[in-house]
């Protein structure tokens, strides 16, 4: 802020700062977050990657990397991983774009309601979603049941334990992220622009393709990047919904650790994955500029980029949009020839109706599946068949009577509360400094604090496993909390930074002029206003931890499990209705958490 120089100083402002010592002391609140990540993220990752470059005696070697390329297995799996991620990205973008476009162009109330449904997969536990797809897509699942009943197919179609199953599961999991990212760009596109285009003579799809679409490209690119990067690190969906041929690279790392305990080679595969991710970021930066990730508008990033790739991309893009525009115009002219516009009668726009239909179908795809675990959990049979037979509470009884489930649930709860609290404790002060102070290397510090989102979780998990095994932290609550805090910090920092950016600092300045000290200003003015946002950030971190499996997979051990880990172990052995019962309980619990936080938020906001 350039104007702040003339606005009131905080009590004991400049003079006090001088007394307290050098300027960097003002930045100390950012230190805990940085130190934390250095210890539990950078350090272990360095250890792991270091292992991959030495042999059993500790002498430097490239043996492990040579092994990566000796057989074609690893390259093949990398290619499969890229293929799965690529298709997931493409499908998420193609199916998500109409939804985002619809959301961007409806009234606020309608939008808020639709967003709740789009976010449905986000809220429901990862494993609940995956089971829902098993219930839906299996040989005797709900979809096949319907298809056969309708006479569309004679025999059940194979939709699971193959590439189709992986695609359905992954697109379902990642599309919300994609839609929200695209929406954040589209919502800022001035609706008058397409109107202006149509008064200027753009007919049919010309206004969309030549004006709206190019402006939405940064959102498409950012959404695509996020989906692609996240998909690269997936293993739950491919493992549970895919076949043998759909093995992804993360599964190889897990195999190396869990089955053969080859740390060095696991490290080498991890580096391969990391290099792939970084290469993709590099390419993206060349093409569109990383600045577009932070939601900058189209013009700012795309218009004036230099470099061959960017220019070629720009020209190709323009050719593409012009071509699509002309194509749509030709189609529209043909259609208009058949049914000319009449000046005396309105013509309902067909395209808008089609958009609604497509949009609602996709929203249904996102929102509906999770609910299918509920009826199955009351079945009398021992399988996840559709339709469920009879009514019984036996699976619930089994869950509550068992030794592991209640303990795992309690542990998950404790870990999630602790990890979210710790994440807030170090993340919130860091967010304040990042928004309010200016210092050299701020962008780099921000990038560092959010990097755990970008780095595949498996790398964090395996390296923590290595570190914790030396510190005897494997199989302890402390270990889990520390690991989950690494993942929670980025979300807390991003959420709270957005919150503080929107906070009107003049309120603080008003309080200072009225005689309140810094502390009292914070307690009586700042805090009550940002409290709802802080609650949201806490909930976010809580859900991240509560639903976390990758770190739990390594840092837990024996009968010391968390809820997702217990579900995973069960699912790997045999998918059974107990899991449906647990999934239903989780669904109910998560809904309660969401509703509760919404109530807290509203109450806070109303005050």
């Amino acid at each position: 802020m350039t104007t702040s120089a003339r606005l009131p100083e905080p009590p004991g402002g400049r003079a006090a700062a001088r007394r307290r010592g050098p300027a960097w002391l003002r930045f100390w609140p950012i230190a805990p977050a940085v130190v934390f990540l250095v210890f539990f993220f950078v350090y272990p990752a360095t250890l792991l990657l270091g292992l991959s470059a030495v042999d059993a005696e500790g002498a430097p070697t490239i043996e492990h990397y040579a092994r990566l390329f000796r057989s074609d297995l690893y390259v093949k799996v990398l290619l499969i991983t890229l293929k799965v991620a690529g298709w997931t990205t493409l499908l998420s973008l193609v199916a998500g774009y109409p939804v985002a476009y619809l959301l961007a162009t409806v009234r606020d109330n309608t939008r808020n309601m639709l967003i709740i449904w789009v976010l449905m997969p986000f809220w429901t536990s990862f494993l609940v979603r995956t089971f829902a797809w098993i219930v839906l897509l299996g040989r005797s699942g709900a979809v096949n049941d319907l298809l056969v009943a309708l006479g569309l197919v004679e025999y059940p179609v194979r939709m699971i334990y193959n590439f189709t199953g992986v695609m359905i599961g992954m697109v379902h999991a990642l599309m919300p992220l994609c839609v929200l990212t695209m929406l954040s760009v589209m919502i800022n596109i001035d609706t008058n622009l397409t109107r202006a285009a149509s008064t200027l003579g753009a007919r049919g799809g010309q206004a969309f393709w030549r004006v709206y679409f190019p402006l939405s490209v940064p959102g498409v690119a950012a959404g695509g990047l996020l989906v692609f990067i996240t998909a690269l690190g997936f293993f739950i969906t491919p493992a549970l919904l895919g076949g043998r041929k759909d093995t992804m690279i993360v599964q190889l790392i897990i195999f190396q650790i869990h089955e053969v305990l080859n740390w060095a080679f696991a490290g080498a595969i991890a580096l391969l994955l990391l290099v792939t991710v970084l290469a993709i970021f590099f390419l993206y930066d060349r093409l569109l500029g990383l600045s577009t990730l932070s939601g900058e508008t189209a013009a700012a990033g795309a218009a004036r980029r230099h470099g061959i790739i960017a220019r070629a991309g720009g020209r190709l893009g323009r050719l593409f949009t012009a071509g699509m525009g002309n194509l749509c115009e030709a189609a529209a002219r043909l259609f208009d020839r058949l049914r000319p516009h009449r000046a005396d009668r309105p013509r309902r726009g067909l395209s808008r109706g089609a958009l609604w239909v497509a949009g609602l179908l996709v929203v249904a795809f996102l929102a509906v599946p999770s609910f299918f675990v509920i009826p199955v959990s009351f079945t009398e049979e021992g399988f996840l068949n559709w339709p469920p037979k009879g009514f019984s509470l036996q699976w619930y009884e089994l869950v509550f009577a068992s030794a592991e489930w209640p303990k795992a649930a309690a542990r998950s709860l404790v870990v999630a509360v602790c990890a979210a609290s710790l994440g807030m404790l170090v993340g919130v002060p860091a967010a304040f400094v990042l928004v309010r102070q200016r210092f050299f290397g701020k962008t780099a510090v921000f990038a560092f604090l959010v990097s755990p989102i970008i780095i595949p979780n498996i790398i964090i998990a395996v390296s923590l496993f290595y570190l914790f095994s030396k510190l005897a932290l494997v199989g302890t609550i402390t270990g889990l909390v520390l690991g989950h805090t690494v993942l929670a910090i980025p979300y807390v920092v991003i959420t709270v930074m957005a919150l503080i950016k929107n906070y009107d600092r003049r309120l603080d300045q008003a309080a200072w002029t009225l005689g309140a000290s810094r502390l009292r200003t914070f307690l009586h003015v700042t805090f009550p206003i940002i409290r709802p946002g802080l609650i949201a950030a806490f909930m976010f971190a809580f859900i991240i931890s509560f639903d976390e499996l990758t770190i739990a997979l390594f840092v837990t051990g024996g009968d010391f499990t968390t809820l997702p880990k217990q579900m995973w172990d069960d699912a790997i052995m045999r998918v059974n209705p107990t899991l449906a019962a647990v999934a239903t309980l989780l669904l109910v619990f998560m809904s309660c958490v969401i509703v509760l936080s919404e109530i807290l938020r509203r109450r806070g906001a109303a005050r």
């Binding site: 622009l193 109107r195 202006a196 149509s198 008064t199 003579g201 516009h341 009449r342 000046a343 009668r345």
Partner: protein
């Protein structure tokens, strides 16, 4: 009824609702070629809705729109010959100035050589040559607005619609651009339908003003018509300063109306429409037509206590409190022949019958 073919633009009974909200309730407008008509009214009065209906950006529920003698009510925007300038300019941010201005020509499949010549010509017209390769955000607000105008002029539409095009600019720039738009209108001979909520802007620029209020058209006329002969209390109050007094019609005759005010005074005025004796009316007198009635003996006089005298530059305002508590304002040039009367004492205001506009109450 008039023949729509004689006009550049005709709207008849255009009505538009959004759910329960009536945004526009039966608008009738007629515009001749080359005319500058301004829709003036408070925010929310339906100006944009009418403009959008004419541009084809919303479908009216009822009514007809004729452009250039052809029925166009439900035609899509690209099949009517209109151009529109938006308040926030609506320049395409991802295109250069050249591409922005070339857009309508390319949509009309014109050859690139013709496009280049036309863009250069229109940039000269708006006095911004040489900005072809810049991006819109690299220009100032005023320059962007001129580019928006250029993008509209370049394909020579029958009618140009402008929705508060200067609303986002500061006062000084707005004054300059008002004159520029006016000159462009005169030099190019285009037909302009202009929207503003600023009465001064409407007065400065328009051939005629269409005053809108609450989804309806209150009055259409020249700026002088609206100022000196308002058709309603709303019109009288919205344009300029006015004194409003309640009265009852006592009798009519000889083009004049005799009126009785609440405290029994008799006044004389001129009615725009027919009024019957006994009707309740509101009298509108412009402050600049009111003066001290000490020396001359005007048609109408009132007596009261001079409460306040406020000098604001060239103009001084005198506030008189009447016995029934109503207030009357007179304005005059500062330091004129009147001297400075004492506040707190009694004073007499007077004005001519012809300056008393009689408005029927509804």
């Amino acid at each position: 009824m008039t023949d729509p073919k004689d006009y550049k633009l005709v709207t008849r009974g255009v009505r538009k609702t959004y759910g329960p909200v009536v945004a526009l309730d039966g608008a009738d407008i007629e515009m001749r070629e080359g005319e500058f008509l301004t829709l003036l009214g408070p925010s929310g009065s339906g100006k944009t809705t009418l403009l959008m209906a004419i541009a084809g950006l919303n479908d009216p529920d009822r009514g007809e729109i004729w452009i250039d003698g052809k029925l166009a009510t439900y035609l899509p925007p690209f099949e009517r010959d209109v151009g529109m300038v938006f308040q926030n300019y609506a320049l395409f941010p991802h295109m250069t100035i050249y591409e922005n201005i070339a857009f309508p020509l390319r949509m009309r499949r014109q050859g690139e050589a013709a496009v280049r010549a036309a863009v250069r010509r229109v940039l000269d017209t708006v006095r911004l040559p040489g900005v072809e390769d810049r991006m819109p955000r690299e220009l100032s607000g005023g320059q962007q607005q001129r580019i928006a105008l250029a993008r509209c002029f370049v394909y020579e539409p029958s009618i140009i619609l402008m929705d508060e095009p200067l609303g986002a600019l500061d006062k000084k720039l707005r004054d300059a651009l008002q004159r520029e738009v006016k000159h462009l209108h005169e030099n190019l001979g285009i037909t302009v339908l202009y929207v503003t909520h600023d009465q001064e802007e409407a007065m400065v620029m328009s051939d005629r003003i269409c005053l809108m209020n609450d989804a309806r058209i209150e009055q259409i006329g020249t700026p002088a018509d609206l100022y000196f002969r308002p058709a309603s209390v709303f019109a009288a109050d919205f344009l300029g300063e006015s004194n409003l007094l309640s009265a009852t019609v006592a009798g009519t005759g000889g083009g004049e109306v005799a009126l009785t005010t609440g405290d029994g005074r008799t006044l004389r005025g001129r009615a725009r429409d027919e009024v019957e004796p006994g009707a309740r009316v509101t009298l509108m007198i412009r402050p600049e037509n009111v003066g001290f009635a000490s020396d001359t003996e005007p048609d109408n006089t009132v007596e009261g206590v001079l409460k306040e005298v406020i000098m604001s530059g060239q103009i001084t305002r005198y506030f008189l409190e009447l016995p029934d508590g109503a207030e009357m304002v007179a304005t005059g040039l500062t330091g004129g022949d009147r001297g400075r009367p004492e506040t707190g004492g009694t004073a007499r205001f007077g004005w001519a019958a012809e300056h008393t506009v009689v408005l029927r109450d509804h």
